[in-house]
Symmetry: C2
Subunit: 272 residues, 2 copies
């Protein structure tokens, strides 16, 4: 029997989705239908949301689970209905926090995922542009500005990781592919030498790599398993030789790669 | 007096950061130092985290706030210390959820932000590659594959929004800049005509646009306020004329743009 999970928010719904997702994935044998109701920021919209939740309860024949991050007291009261189990994030956490901090919270909408300030916003956009302009070995002069430079063989997930670092953390991340021309010299490509302390490597299991490359260039030398084994072996040997830390992307999501890199290098977020 | 907020997680720490951030930003006049302790997945690391929290309590002279999303019961017990206010996300929510669903949760680590399955992972990477290969009007043949095509004047935030849609939702988003050549014809650029129902517009306040463009090309016609006013006016008129819905990026974050577009177009996430 499928259950319905609602993610209700006065803003984007991202926090509610993440909260709810992390909880419902703990119940592997329950099949959840997920419905996000974002921008519930008026009594009218709150009543609409309530109607939708009640309707779903009837359709399902059991109570939906409502994960709510709505901040406003009046709207929160509307959303709580008997026909659902409502897990109200603010209700539960804001009380202990107010007590600990010895003051009342503002109970105001829209602090998360909004434009906190223009400078922070610009930092993110600049970081995205930086990643796009320093992708795949394209290296204009301003590499000094890079917070980090990811290196590794082609298709080791460098580009998405750079973009994630830029979008989520405002980190300026460049990336440079290690290609067969770079191997056998036991030294870093010349262009990278001045930035050794900014380098971080990504590697990947050769079998997985061959699989990924095969989809892009079927039956090519590029995708052949023995070539992938050669490239990965050489790249790892080079990174070990010159002392560049590296990480395998084989079983890690983009989030895991990005957060692990942040953690290991000691970089800190520019934006929240 | 600054307070310290710890975000403690057995995985990336992203959920803990987001939850904690949404709560502490409700206390505008409290200055928080933020420390993320990710990958706390062993008793040893849990004890290290605890030592760090206790140390901070001494330094600060008051209790740190610990936002924890650690799932494992044993590790959670270690992390709870008297010297901090611990807001334990799983402890609070998993109980009511288990009761409602009539079964125990798996209490297992690593369900969120990991590689759920290779297909889902590939969908994200494919979407990122799609966004990169269909950026700024570059439109190879496979535009049929696009879930959405963002249009708007140059620097209206199309590219970061496309990348966010790809990375976070696995949505294939192309973007096409509206330039002076496209105006005055009261019709869409020819290339876009077959995909009318996939179009969504981004617009921006001309003053903000001039400010952003000025940083890229100082003293250019491109950045001049009157030119920005002209381009934005024409782009909006065109979108209204042909019935393409649009949204202003001026006061919206990338998250807000992306989620609003998802909401209005009815697109649904491919990945969690």
């Amino acid at each position: 029997m499928p259950r319905t999970a609602f993610f209700v928010s006065d803003r984007t719904g991202i926090t509610a989705e993440m909260l709810g997702h992390s909880l419902i994935t703990q119940f592997e044998d329950v099949n959840f239908r997920r419905i996000t109701l974002p921008y519930i920021d008026s009594t009218e919209k709150a009543h609409e949301a309530t109607a939708r939740i009640r309707h779903q309860a009837e359709v399902d024949g059991c109570r939906p689970i409502v994960f709510s991050t709505v901040v406003d007291d009046e709207l929160r009261a509307i959303i709580h209905v008997d026909e659902a189990l409502t897990l109200d994030f603010f209700e539960i956490f804001i009380g202990p926090l107010e007590k600990e901090l010895g003051r009342e919270s503002s109970h105001s909408v829209g602090k998360t995922h909004g434009i906190a300030n223009f400078e922070e916003y610009k930092a993110r956009i600049d970081a995205v542009n930086f990643a796009l302009n320093h992708d795949d070995g394209v290296m204009p002069r301003d590499l000094n500005e890079a917070d980090i430079i990811l290196i590794g063989v082609s298709r080791a997930a460098k580009t998405p990781t750079c973009l994630y670092l830029a979008l989520q953390y405002g980190i300026k991340a460049a990336n440079y592919p290690l290609t067969p021309e770079d191997f056998g010299q036991h030294t870093l490509p010349k262009l990278l030498l001045p930035y050794r302390n900014k380098l971080f490597g990504l590697t990947i299991d050769p079998v997985r790599l061959a699989q990924i490359r095969e989809e892009r260039k079927p039956n090519s030398k590029y995708a052949a398993l023995d070539n992938c084994q050669f490239e990965v072996g050489e790249a790892e040997a080079l990174m070990r030789h010159v002392g560049v830390p590296y990480l395998a992307s084989t079983t890690r999501s983009i989030e895991e790669l990005a957060t692990t890199i942040m953690h290991r290098t000691g970089l800190t977020r520019r934006t929240y």
